[in-house]
Every structure is written in structure tokens, then in C-alpha cells.
Symmetry: C2
């Protein structure tokens, strides 16, 4: 544990990379890393960036990094790629690295890919972000590809969500509506030098007004990331949103909610371990489960049997309190 | 319970509708309905149909229903709409009803919408499908909009998955790859009278061959649902896939896996109930949770406290076996 704290105190990218590797691979050490970082987090502004493939998210993230780094901020970038092994394109992290920002000493980039296991991705992202936060990053950028539910889960860690689109939303507007639309805090029309940019802004404006968000009305910005156009204004709006969160109490509230979310997921994972252990030591249950598998018994009755045999009666609690 | 069995024996659409309503609303009766139907399911061929908005899924489902109904089969249709309340378009179920198939006596249509709660949708779908299966349906068609992870979960109930697209996949091919692609058993290029149909077939062919599926090589079919073109061939391929599942043992295996999935989700839901009850009766835990929320204690330690105080030691099990 002391060695661990030394790693945290070093504040260099090599130590950070080692800590994140432990967490990503869920080594025995990762438990201590998470426990320790949990007490030191809460300062970073966490910004989620999402949008369909080809909208220029990586370029935008690169330019944001450059500007924020020039302001002297410590920046962490987490690239979450929830795509299957079928995708042969470059990983998001690679695309961002190509922008040259990896050379900046105050920027740290971490790639996360699923390789088929979507389930754990949101949890991994939350863990990585927590460690970066505890490692004194001022800003953490999470870039993720827009493929549905998993994206929601990943973005739940964010304070500020940017939704990046390109002009001529057209058909995809319907899909957007169906999913990610309502979680965006700032809309970005990137590649705004292409035709149809103003129309897209108008479409989005209408949708934002219809959605009837009250306290925060998401701004709609035009950028041309490749030309660094609109990046300053985007950063201004990100800061405005941060102030809004802090003044409204949402900043604190979001952090509190995340603590409880983490507690619940830990409880769930500990309980399923207990269930596994329990079943492994009770042969009669193994037979019952086999019967459920073969349709000889119903899962409704047997689930009660298992849970009741695992959880003792109220008055037999051993360590309550 | 006897009245319930009478409802099951009636085999009319009104009784079925009432049973499904109970299950959908998770009334106290739903537990008995699920328990009873669990012992009578396993016969129906469950077919999932997915694809992007505008690909003509509803029309295709309508035509499939017509043909299958004409063969004298009993058909259940479940329309799952995992879109947010922002979407103002017609519900999937309404669009299918427009096709006039609701008038057929051997077709039963059930719509499921989320209204914001994505989490429970997959579970609801599985429940509804189970009751339809127990209600002697020969074929159950599940139509769902393609919006990511939730779609995976919904389609997990299916024996045969149809992925519907339109000619000129172009950019969306990348998104497809990233998600739903590998779970399709049959690819359909609908609106195949539009330009680019053959090219799309070629693209898909290449992708299928690259993916290296072994036992079952997913066929790629062209349809024009509005003109009823290609529907016969599609049904033939659906039957071929069914034979494949039955001969390979996958038919049985899928049903067994679903039984275990259901058992696991029941165990999980019973345990979270136990956790809630436990916390409600232990004031000291409530204080600890409050401390986690405020960042005064870490969720890692407290989750262990909660789980250990809930689950007694091995040697104190009360009903094991």
C-alpha cells in the first residue's frame, strides 16, 4: 500500500500508465488502487465526446487537448471503442495519437477496447477516469463511438457531454433522436464548412426547444476542427457549462450519484461471487440448476430456493452494523 | 391458479391480451403466469427482425405474417420500441397494425415501448415471448429498432435473427460492423428495386466470408416487401435455419441457455430486494451509505460490510438443499 501511494505521489506518466494497466486488467492490486484513488478524486472536469463514426471526433479531441494544454492544464484522454473485433480500422486512441498531442508532457492518453466484452466497458471506463482524477488531472476527455446503450453507460461518468455531428444530418436525425440526443449538454456541428451546416443548426435548435430542457439550454456550435475554427468558442461553452453545474449544485450531485452507483455495482459483483461460491459447495443446488436448464424445474421457484439458502433470516445476521 | 390455467386453456386473443398485460405491468399475478408458462414453453420458433429505421422492417413483418398465417400457423408478433419519448413517430406496433394483419384471427400483436426505462425492456420481451410460446404460438416475430446494446439483449431471445437493410449501405456499413452484424443469421436487402442492391449484396457477401462463421453461412436475400417480392424465399431460408438449429442441437441448447439466463436474472433481482430490505432495517448501514455518497467513506470497503452482514457464514445456512 505504501508503495502504491508512492506511485500516486510520483505524478509521472510512466507510473500512471502502470497503475491504469493494473486497473484495466483487474489484477489483485487494482482493488487497493481504486480504494485509494476513491478518496482523492472529485476535482477533474469530466467531458464526454460522442457522435457517429466519421464526424471528426478524434480531430476535435486533439484540438481541444492542444488548447487546454496550452492553458497549463493537466489532461487525461480516455478513448473508448465499444466496437467488435470485426472492425479493422485504427483504434480511437491511435487516431488521437496521430494528432501529435501524445508528445505534450501534460497530456495522458489511455485507450480502452472491448474485444467483444461490452458488459465491463462502462465499469472499466469509470475506474480509469477515477484514477486519472485522483492523479490530479484537471480535465478528462472521454471519446466514445456512438453505438447505443453502452455509450449511455460510458457517458454517465461525464459532467459535460458533447455530441458531435456533421452537416446534413438528414436520416440520421431520427436515429439520433432515438438515442443519445437528450443527454447532450453541447451540440457541435463539425466540418461546418460543408454545405448544410446552418440548416443542421436550425434543425437542432428546433429539437432542443421542443425537448423543453429548462435550466440549461444546450448551445449549438459550428466547428471546423481541421482548421481549428470554433475551438475557442467551444472551450468557452464548456467552461460556461462547468460554472452552471457548480452554481446549480449539480456538480456535487453528480459526484454523489456516482459514488452510490459504484457502491451498488460493487455490492452486485460481491453478491454474485457469493452465489457462485454457495452453489459450488451445495450439490443439491447444482442438481436443481441442472433441472432448470433442462426445463424440468422452473427458474422462479429455484431462484427463491437459492437466495433463501444463501441469505439467512434477519435475526441470524452476524455482523450487522 | 386454477383460474389462471383456465385463462391459458381458453386460447383466445382476449385472454392472452389480459395475461400479457399482467406480465407487462408486473402485477402480483405475473409471477404465477410466468411460473406456469415456463413449464409449457419451448415449442415456438422465435424470429428476431432488426435493422435501421426506414429499412422497411414493419412492412416486411406484415408480409411474413400474412404468408405464415396462410399456412395455418399461429403467430405472435412483439414490437419492441426502445426509443425515447422524444420520438414522435408511430409506434412499431401501430405501423404493423396498419398492414391489416391484426384482422387475421391467428395473428396476435403486442407492442412494448420503453418510455425512458431501457433496463427492463429485454426482460419484459423475454417474459412476453415466454407467455406467447406457452400459448401455443408456432412462430413469434420480434421486431426491434436498431439502437445498440438493448437490441442485442432483446434479440438474445431469438432463434433466428434477420438483419434488414436497404441498398447503398455506404457509411452505415461501418456502424453495422461495429454492432449488430455478427448476430444476424439471415441478411435481407429490402427495397431491392432501388439502385445499388446488388452492390450491397456483394459487400455483405464479402463481410460474411471474412467473418469466418463456420457451420451456418448466413444467406443474403433481396426483397421488395411492398411488392411481396422475395418473401417466399425468405420464409424458405427461415425454415432452413430452423432445421439447421434442430439438427445441430443448437435449438435445444439455446432454450437451455435461456432457462439459465432467466434463473440468473431472477436470483439477481431477489438479491437486490434482500439488500434493500437489509439496509432499511439496519440504521448503521444507512449512515455508512450516506458517508459513501458524500465521499467520506469508500464504496469498496462499505460494499464488503453490507454483503458480509447480509450473507451469513457458510455453516449457518438455514435451508441449504
Amino acid at each position: 500500500m505504501e508503495e502504491l501511494i508512492r506511485y500516486f505521489d510520483k505524478k509521472d506518466n510512466v507510473s500512471l500508465g502502470k497503475l491504469l494497466k493494473e486497473v484495466e486488467n483487474q489484477t489483485p492490486l487494482s482493488y487497493d488502487i481504486l480504494k485509494y484513488s476513491s478518496s482523492r478524486k472529485g476535482k477533474a472536469h469530466i467531458i464526454g465526446i460522442t457522435g457517429p463514426p466519421g464526424s471528426g471526433k478524434s480531430t476535435l479531441v486533439g484540438k481541444l487537448c492542444n488548447k487546454l494544454a496550452a492553458q497549463g492544464l493537466m489532461i487525461g484522454v480516455v478513448c473508448v471503442d465499444p466496437t467488435s473485433p470485426y472492425t479493422k480500422g485504427a483504434l480511437l486512441g491511435d487516431r488521437i495519437r496521430m494528432q501529435g498531442i501524445a508528445k505534450l508532457p501534460n497530456v495522458f492518453i489511455k485507450s480502452l477496447a472491448t474485444r467483444g466484452n461490452l458488459g465491463g466497458l462502462a465499469a472499466s471506463t469509470a475506474d480509469i477516469v477515477q484514477v486519472l482524477d485522483a492523479y490530479d488531472k484537471d480535465v478528462i476527455l472521454i471519446e466514445t463511438v456512438g453505438v447505443g446503450q453502452i455509450e449511455f453507460d460510458v457517458l454517465e461518468v461525464s459532467d459535460t457531454v458533447l455530441l458531435v455531428n456533421v452537416p446534413g444530418l438528414g436520416d440520421s436525425l431520427q436515429t439520433l433522436k432515438a438515442g443519445i440526443m437528450e443527454i447532450a449538454d453541447i451540440y457541435v456541428i463539425n466540418q461546418a464548412d460543408r454545405p448544410g451546416a446552418d440548416e443542421s443548426v436550425k434543425d437542432l435548435n428546433l429539437m432542443v426547444r421542443e425537448s423543453g430542457k429548462t435550466d440549461w439550454s444546450p448551445p449549438i456550435l459550428k466547428t471546423v476542427a481541421t482548421q481549428e475554427e470554433g475551438i475557442e468558442e467551444l472551450i468557452n461553452q464548456i467552461y460556461t457549462h462547468r460554472s452552471y453545474l457548480q452554481n446549480s449544485g449539480l456538480w456535487k450531485e453528480k459526484r454523489q450519484t456516482r459514488n452510490i452507483t459504484r457502491l451498488n455495482s460493487m455490492i452486485q459483483s460481491l453478491l454474485s461471487q457469493k452465489v457462485d461460491d454457495h452453489i459450488n459447495t451445495e450439490e443439491s443446488l447444482q442438481q436443481k440448476i441442472e433441472d432448470v436448464r433442462n426445463g424440468k424445474r422452473d427458474p422462479y421457484t429455484i431462484s427463491h430456493d437459492i437466495v433463501n439458502s444463501l441469505v439467512a433470516n434477519k435475526n441470524t445476521y452476524q455482523y450487522g452494523g
